[in-house]
């Protein structure tokens, strides 16, 4: 199976003493929705910030499509949706998208097509001319996601993309993630809610900076003789304590 992300002996210190990630080893497949699941403070955001090259790695290495994380060549192949909204509230939805399309290196000719496509994907076509600051939190979240969708990146790294969204929209977005993955995009999605874990093709369960399991949801349930991923997680945590 082709590999998108390969992480070897990764450790990250925040400050001098706090070990945010502790000897993480992972091999992630291509064209799958990979859920990085764990409670708040588990190290999910630290892990994905290392993957997008935004955080200095104290020990170990990360390779994405064979290149070191943070390499300039990777900037056209990946997109990153941060936990903060990371959109400009004092611009319209359209102005935000137009700016990020240019920054992604896409041509002016293709801009309208790209923008219409991503607006349709996140169901925001009718809000294109609205100022972002006048939108609801969920709508802002969708604008942020639309930016991450620009240009069909090979790897999408999404930090808690469904926080604050209503169940209907969450369902819609997870279906979009599945469709993107079927098209060959690799999606790394963090979440702290276990019901979302069931929707992933591949799961990385993380706690206190350590990976406690890496498997498909089905295998995980089977291994732990559980009915749900949440139950599996609790059993795994119980085993470690």
């Amino acid at each position: 199976m082709a590999t998108s992300v390969k992480i070897k002996n990764l450790s990250v210190f925040i400050g001098k003493h706090f070990k945010a990630l502790d000897d993480v080893n992972l091999v992630l497949p291509v064209g799958k929705t990979i859920g990085v699941i764990g409670p708040s403070g588990a190290g999910k955001t630290t892990l994905i910030r290392c993957i997008v090259g935004g955080l200095h790695i104290s020990q170990g290495e990360i390779k994405i499509f064979g290149k070191h994380a943070g390499s300039p060549e990777l900037r056209e192949q990946l997109s990153y949706m941060t936990q903060e909204l990371s959109v400009y509230p004092d611009l319209t939805v359209m102005e935000n998208l137009r700016y990020f399309v240019t920054m992604a290196g896409k041509s002016k000719k293709s801009a309208d097509e790209i923008i219409n496509g991503v607006l349709t994907d996140v169901d925001m076509t009718n809000r294109a001319k609205n100022l972002v600051r006048n939108l609801s939190t969920g709508q802002k979240q969708r604008v942020s996601l639309a930016i991450a969708l620009i240009g069909h990146p090979k790897l999408m790294v999404l930090d808690e993309p469904t926080v604050g969204l209503d169940p209907v929209l969450r369902d819609k977005l997870w279906k979009l993630f599945a469709r993107l993955a079927r098209g060959g995009t690799t999606l790394i999605v963090t979440s702290h809610t276990m019901d979302e874990a069931e929707r992933c093709d591949d799961l990385v369960l993380i706690r206190d900076g350590k990976v406690i399991a890496h498997s498909t949801p089905g295998e995980l349930r089977k291994q732990t003789k559980s009915k749900t991923v949440e139950e599996s997680f609790l059993k795994l945590v119980g085993d470690k304590e």
Partner: protein, 244 residues
């Protein structure tokens, strides 16, 4: 660096400001109002005001541009937009120079409007006339912009960014020769003022106040300020980190 991306960044910042007309209005109204207040503070001392006004024409845009740019770029750093941009195929220079173009242009407009008020409504007499005075004021506004862009890198909150004003700009204001001739200050303060950019901005304003012609000293002062502007922009680009 890409011209397309730099200009796209400038257009984006312009659009942001366009949606915030109150900020624009304050940027253009506050300096002329302050200058008008100063005129009436010195209402029986026309000569004193004639000497001070050109220097204030330099100082007001500098302080305002410094504050605005440091807060605006800090907002980029704290809202996640800069993090997102730094994962994209964009040069750090595109970001910094995109901002510099916008605030340089706004500084130019601000100096132009304040200069117009100073010359035509307040009737200030400046030996060198309108053009050299405005050139010196615009370069000083650019200095404020570039210093704001550079120093915002060292602030992690808006409170800190605002405090760079008393910490970094005020010492320069006190020692640049605006209040007391530099040669009358204690020697260590003279050394300090020799290496600070505002000294040369204020000196340029003194040159236009006292000389009818464009002097070589004026050129020298503006070149020094220009070097500081370029230096601060380059340092501002370097201090943007793709990786923490």
């Amino acid at each position: 660096m890409s011209i397309v991306k730099t200009l796209a960044t400038s257009r984006r910042v312009f659009n942001q400001l366009f949606h915030d007309p109150r900020t624009i209005a304050m940027m253009f109204i506050v300096p002329p109002v302050l200058l008008t207040i100063m005129k009436y503070v010195f209402q029986d001392q026309t000569k004193v005001f004639d000497n001070i006004a050109p220097m204030l024409l330099g100082v007001f845009p500098l302080t305002m541009m410094f504050l605005i740019t440091s807060i605006v770029t800090l907002r980029e750093r704290t809202s996640g937009t800069l993090d997102r941009l730094m994962t994209m195929p964009m040069s750090k220079f595109d970001f910094i120079f995109g901002y510099a173009i916008v605030f340089g242009f706004l500084g130019f407009l601000q100096a132009l409007i304040t200069g117009f008020v100073m010359f035509s409504l307040l009737g200030v007499n400046v030996a060198a006339g309108f053009l050299p005075t405005i050139v010196a004021a615009v370069i000083t506004a650019l200095l404020g912009t570039s210093l704001g862009l550079f120093l915002s890198a060292f602030a992690s909150s808006e409170f800190q960014a605002i405090q760079y004003m008393p910490a970094f700009i005020f010492p320069q204001l006190l020692t640049c020769g605006l209040f007391v001739a530099r040669e009358n200050m204690a020697e260590p303060l003279q050394w300090f003022s020799n290496v600070m950019p505002l000294t040369y901005s204020v000196d340029a304003m003194k040159q236009v106040t006292n000389n009818v012609d464009w002097t070589s000293a004026l050129t020298g002062d503006l070149v020094v300020v220009g070097i500081f502007v370029i230096g601060a922009l380059i340092l501002g680009s370097i201090t943007i980190r793709r990786q923490e």
